[in-house]
Amino acid sequence: MHLRLRPLTVLLILTLVLALTVLLGIRLGAVSLSNGQLWDLITGSPSKTSSILLQIRLPRVVLGLLAGMSLAAAGVVWQGILRNPLADPYLIGISSGGALGAAIAIFFGGLFPWISSAVPLFALLGSLGAVALVYFLAASGGKLTIERLILCGVAVSSFFSALLSLMVVAHSDSLAGLYFWMMGGLSGRTWTDIGLALPYQIVGFFIVLYHLRSLNILQLGEEAARGLGVSTKETIAMLSLGATLLAASTVANCGMIGFIGLVIPHIVRRLVGSDLRIVLPLSAILGAAVLVAADLVSRTCWAPSEIPVGIITALLGAPFFLYLVYRR
């Protein structure tokens, strides 16, 4: 199923799809707006609906865009570095570290109310801390290799998960909110939260794009890439830093949204081939569109109740992933 469409065609289609999902994402919800109403709101004076739009609907769509882009791009990076199609952005401790950070914030939020509003910050610190620990462990006592990185990531993840379970067992009532956080969702986030994560996402994207050409060459293997003039160690270190920033800042605001980082790069590869200079930007666009669409489903299909978007992406992503595997 290697379609190998022309990249420009795919870019055009995906951009249209993204524009459409964004438009729907803004219009639909508990209070649905027609195109006309939307136009009035953009051009007209402030009103109650316009504040819904600006303070609730719009941040949510923007958050979805950023999260989808970041996760898909981080997925492309990890799959490229590890040359392993099963790699995803959460591979080296980002999710468990973030969850532990969030749990700490939620737990102490009961005691010190200001902390409960800082869940994203704590999750971000948890993620970055976990990745730093993984890197430290992988690099000490030997050469930093991809294998060591993965193994240390698995070990640290398990350890943090165990700590998390311990906290949940001991204080299940005060950690009820954690469960929703872990399933991943875009609800209730404000412009402030977006602003908190945005600098990391911008830096992450900048790093990744700067090294995109080298990432593409790395797919030939480290030795061949070196022979083609890529300084492999520095490139791998910088790319993994960039991907970590992207994923960690997303986890901080949205919890653990699965399958976007794993499945989207695969779909795009099938469409346009393996040139990551093309795959990465297209994945970012498709990731954004899919996440905004999934969020739309999660908040409209069972309205007024809402299910975490991570459940939707997993429900749709897992079967689709299997389909891709079997079509091979």
């Binding site: 030939l220 061949a224 070196r226 022979g227 890529v230 300084s231 081939g273």
Partner: protein, 420 residues
């Protein structure tokens, strides 16, 4: 010098080899050979900066390797690493196109000139036919050709190859080495880690032979491929011969023939290659052999002496002397049987037939009709054959001869391990 190594030591945690110095002149095709684990690939990785040496300095075009940026180096030097991790979701031409990366700017999109170079490199490496096919659809040897094309498309002045012929069929191996030798004659310099010593000796202009202690020999193939060097490096006895066409050395492993049994004494009369099956098989069967009279440098004489079989030798191109004739009679008298291989007879070796009357048992290979064709003495040899046949000798094919001898000469003593 296009490439210099100055007292380099290479290794990972532990040093694999130390104090290695050599210089490479433009146009040389250097083969790096030696047993597994002696640091051949490590040396190559050091030469392109993937795994810098622990000590010492490597210079490319007179400038320290460490002072090059990756792209600068890649514009001078192309590398074909050993069996890289799979790049299977690319098409063949996409893999080759990566070669132009060091020559492009920005995101690395290709120009018309690059496309042309890629095209030519694929044609040169015999990989044009793989265009449009995914790497995963190609066989191991075909993928190697694509990677070779990639190295060529980098328009290198210096080409580093790590076991480039792995997975290839014989014809493709020879082709790749021949292509490499050809571009070296045009001024490109190549350093290749090679496994096949005969191919290395045939195609390379210079060899670096490593042993587990480091560099053992450095020079033209005929200086490096010697029995002493190879025994020291690989720890196996080999016989070095010269290729009949190119004159380059090639080697054969010396066999340690397992002689299962020990049988009686046999004398073999052969010459001119007529003993090439007979002598090794009788030797393997465990007979205590002697061979002669043969001329020195005769292939049967060389064969027997390489097996350590006692010989009665005559000077090259000389008739059998009276003295050797006498020696032969004595040898025949103490042999339990004599085997005469079908060979050419002239006046010079007629004494071999004349001495046979004293044999206790006599076997001929071939047939009486065949003898007439091989008799260049005007019938004297054929007459001698006829007389000996009347005296109880018999004609046998080689197979029958082996089974007859095996039956008649039971093993004297069974050995668990072959001697020698």
């Amino acid at each position: 010098m296009i490439l210099e190594a100055e007292e380099i030591s290479c290794g990972y945690k532990k040093e694999i080899f130390g104090n290695l110095s050599f210089g490479v002149r433009p146009g040389e095709f250097i083969g790096v050979i030696g047993p597994n684990g002696c640091g051949k690939s490590t040396l190559l990785k050091a030469l392109y900066g993937y795994h810098p040496p622990l000590k010492g300095c490597i210079k490319v075009l007179g400038k320290a390797l460490s002072s090059y940026t990756g792209s600068q180096l890649a514009r001078v030097m192309a590398v074909m690493p050993q069996d890289p991790p799979e790049d299977s979701s690319f098409r063949a031409e996409e893999v080759v196109a990566f070669a132009r990366h060091p020559f492009t700017n920005g995101l690395g999109w290709l120009g018309k000139e690059d496309e042309k170079i890629i095209e030519e490199a694929m044609l040169f490496a015999g990989a044009s036919g793989f265009k449009g096919r995914l790497m995963s659809e190609l066989s191991g040897g075909e993928r190697q050709r694509v990677r070779f094309a990639r190295a060529i498309a980098q328009s290198p002045r210096l080409l580093l190859l790590d076991e480039p012929t792995t997975h290839m069929d014989l014809n493709r191996q020879l082709e790749l080495l021949d292509l490499t030798a050809r571009i070296c004659r045009e001024g490109v310099t190549a350093v290749a880690v090679l496994h096949d010593l005969n191919q290395a000796a045939q195609f390379c202009s210079r060899l670096l032979l490593f042993s587990s202690q480091g560099l053992l020999a450095d020079g033209v193939p005929r200086r490096v491929i010697t029995e002493e060097n190879l025994a020291a490096s690989f720890g196996v006895p080999v016989q070095v011969c010269l290729h009949p066409q190119s004159g380059s050395p090639y080697l054969l492993p010396r066999l340690t023939i397992n002689r299962r049994a020990k049988r009686g004494r046999l004398h073999v009369v052969a010459g001119g290659g007529s003993g090439k099956n007979l002598i090794p098989e009788l030797y393997r069967m465990g007979f205590e052999l002697s061979v002669g009279v043969v001329n020195a440098l005769d292939s049967d004489a060389e064969l027997a002496s390489s097996l350590g079989i006692p010989l009665i030798l005559e000077a090259p191109f000389s008739a059998i002397s009276l003295e050797n004739s006498q020696l032969l009679r004595e040898q025949i008298a103490c042999a339990e049987a004599v085997v005469v291989a079908l060979t050419e007879y002239g006046e010079g070796n007629l004494p071999n037939l004349e001495a046979l009357s004293g044999a206790r048992k006599l076997f001929f290979t071939g047939s009486l009709e065949a003898i007439e064709k091989h008799d260049h003495t005007g019938g004297k040899a054929a007459n001698l054959y006829a007389e000996l046949l009347e005296g109880g000798a018999s004609f046998l094919t080689e197979e029958d001869l082996f089974s007859t001898l095996a039956k008649e000469h039971r093993t004297v003593e069974l050995r668990l391990f072959g001697e020698d």
